[in-house]
């Protein structure tokens, strides 16, 4: 990784001044967002290449790259702070994973007064997941996910089997929210379920390939987000998602380059009769 002797270019102002306004400083130091003044420069690109090598300790202190790196972070306090912080992270023993706001699914339990404990409430999610994964392993080319509720307080029930489509036999499936909790602000998301390649890991772990979340909008509106990820060609444009809306209309949505597909904003109650049909690309099972 050693290269020719070269000094990092000096910048006209100190890094703190070049960061610009107070929001840029907050973004850089609190959120770790690289200052715009740095992005795109040749020196910063070299810094980014050398950073993991410095963290891993594979550069010799007497080497050119090492010397250049240390000189560069002297000019740019943002990079110095990032290097020191990542050094500490890299050297630290891991702590317990903190759940984020977006992964809080407690409202799923609150929606059902008959659910006694969060553990019982989550069992529906786990059971649906356990049911889906063997079907995928069998080589099913499509997946139909049918949300139905017979009343506001009853558990979610999935429809009767349809020829050619796998459907769960159990009615112990996740219940959809019947109201948006007061703490749920517009834009918040909550996970409905995931399906993954790792059938032993708890929900949320493993190499997920499908995640369906509900995102709150304004008033009592919400929309379903379907995200396809994973180590397979799921992001192929050939993947089609059909949304059968409560009014009877069918909408075809194609995931964007990041794998996201969205339903229109719907009244929360309408989720109870939403049908999602996902057609995998033909190459999915060849991976």
């Amino acid at each position: 990784m050693e290269s020719e002797e070269q000094q990092p270019a000096a910048w006209p102002d100190s890094a703190t001044e070049a960061l610009g306004g107070r929001r840029e400083r907050l973004r850089a130091e609190v959120l770790g967002v690289s200052p715009p003044a740095l992005l795109g420069s040749v020196d910063y690109a070299r810094y980014e290449v050398l950073l993991p090598l410095m963290l891993a300790g594979v550069l010799l202190p007497a080497g050119t790259d090492y010397t250049w790196f240390m000189a560069f972070i002297t000019i740019w306090p943002f990079c110095a702070a990032e290097y020191v912080e990542l050094q500490q992270v890299f050297a630290a023993v891991p702590s317990a994973v903190r759940p984020s706001v977006a992964s809080d699914v407690t409202f799923l339990q609150r929606a059902d007064p008959t659910v006694a404990s969060p553990a019982q409430g989550m069992s529906g999610l786990a059971e649906l997941r356990e049911w889906i994964e063997p079907l995928i392993a069998e080589g099913r080319r499509g997946l139909r996910i049918i949300f139905t509720v017979s009343s506001a307080s009853s558990p979610l029930r999935l429809a009767e089997p349809t020829a050619g489509w796998p459907v769960p036999q159990s009615d112990k499936t996740p219940q959809l929210p019947t109201e948006i909790p007061p703490v749920w602000v517009a834009g918040d998301t909550a996970l409905l379920f995931t399906a993954g390649l790792d059938d032993v890991a708890p929900a949320g772990e493993g190499l997920r390939y499908l995640a369906i979340t509900v995102q709150s909008g304004y008033a009592t509106m919400c929309r379903v987000q379907i995200r396809l990820t994973g180590l397979s060609p799921l992001l192929s444009a050939a993947t089609q998602i059909l949304l059968q809306l409560p009014g009877g209309d069918t909408l075809v949505v194609t995931p964007d380059v990041d794998g996201w597909a969205y339903s229109p904003f719907l009244p929360l109650a309408a989720l109870g009769s939403l049908v999602i049909i996902i057609e995998w690309p033909a190459t999915f099972f060849a991976d």
């Binding site: 990784m1 100190s14 703190t16 107070r22 929001r23 400083r25 907050l26 973004r27 130091e29 609190v30 959120l31 770790g32 967002v33 690289s34 950073l51 993991p52 090598l53 963290l55 891993a56 300790g57 594979v58 306090p77 990542l86 500490q88 992270v89 890299f90 050297a91 630290a92 023993v93 891991p94 702590s95 994973v97 903190r98 984020s100 706001v101 977006a102 992964s103 602000v185 834009g187 918040d188 998301t189 390649l197 790792d198 949320g204 772990e205 190499l207 997920r208 909008g217 304004y218 509106m221 929309r223 995200r227 990820t229 994973g230 180590l231 996201w260 969205y262 229109p264 904003f265 991976d287």
Partner: protein
């Protein structure tokens, strides 16, 4: 084997077990890790060198990186290597600057794994593989603040043209209402006036570390302590994160 070399060998075994347990590794086992470190010591002709605990940990992480790099480059895919890398990144992520409130670390870890799967050979130095993956994850977390939230057509229509115009015209650089709100957010996220004073000095006034040392008796040590405390509190403050997300 001298007693000092034996001590280093014991230390390597201890750190290897600690890493495997902490990161829930299965593809990488403690004996494999120990063997990898010993081989690296032989390769670099430092087999008899006494190492500190920090150095041993660094050697173990380098050795783990080499093994995971091999596993992730293997075709067909080796799920075990990716699963170990997944656990490493997921357990390390909470120590990084927070992502956008609309993003979860678990999703960013997935994206990182996907990037690595697509171009595993992009890491040219296998011993730095874990650090390389960690910096990708860190960049993804920071990059999440630059992604605009997708808005549906229905939602846009519901908001109405008038409100949309107001939003478009809002210039945050000359936004007194936004500035006042940010001051309120800083007040609520921080616990005492020393922390708030430091935040105003640093973020609002933009004065530098050495200028603090000239102006205050506490000097650089006080500046660094407050920097660590204030940034840590702001990263855990949902109000600030939601404000910055807008």
């Amino acid at each position: 084997m001298s007693s000092e070399t034996q001590t280093t060998a014991d230390l390597i075994s201890y750190v290897a077990r600690e890493l495997v347990q902490s990161y829930r590794w299965q593809f990488i086992t403690a004996p494999l890790l120990v063997r990898g470190v010993r081989q690296a010591q032989v390769d670099r002709a430092v087999a008899d060198t006494v190492l500190t605990a920090i150095e041993v940990r660094q050697w173990c992480l380098q050795s783990a990186g080499v093994m995971l790099h091999q596993g992730c480059n293997r075709r067909p895919r080796d799920d075990g290597a990716y699963r170990d890398l997944y656990h490493y990144l997921l357990l390390t992520a909470p120590a990084l600057p927070p992502p956008h409130p609309g993003m979860e670390w678990v999703d960013l870890v997935q994206e990182t794994l996907l990037d690595i799967y697509r171009q595993p050979a992009a890491c040219r130095v296998p011993a730095a593989f874990l650090a390389w993956a960690l910096t990708i994850l860190k960049r993804k977390g920071a990059g999440s603040w630059n992604i605009r939230v997708h808005e549906s057509l229905e939602k846009t229509q519901a908001l109405g043209d008038e409100i949309i115009d107001q939003l478009d015209q809002r210039n945050r650089h000359i936004d007194p209402l936004g500035d006042q709100e940010l001051l309120g957010v800083l007040h609520d996220c921080l616990d005492d006036d020393e922390e708030r004073g430091w935040a105003l000095w640093h973020f609002y006034v933009g004065l530098k570390r050495r200028e603090w040392a000239l102006a205050f008796d506490g000097g650089l040590r006080q500046f660094d302590r407050l920097h660590r405390v204030v940034v840590g509190k702001l990263r855990r403050c949902d109000r600030l994160l939601l404000f910055m997300a807008r």
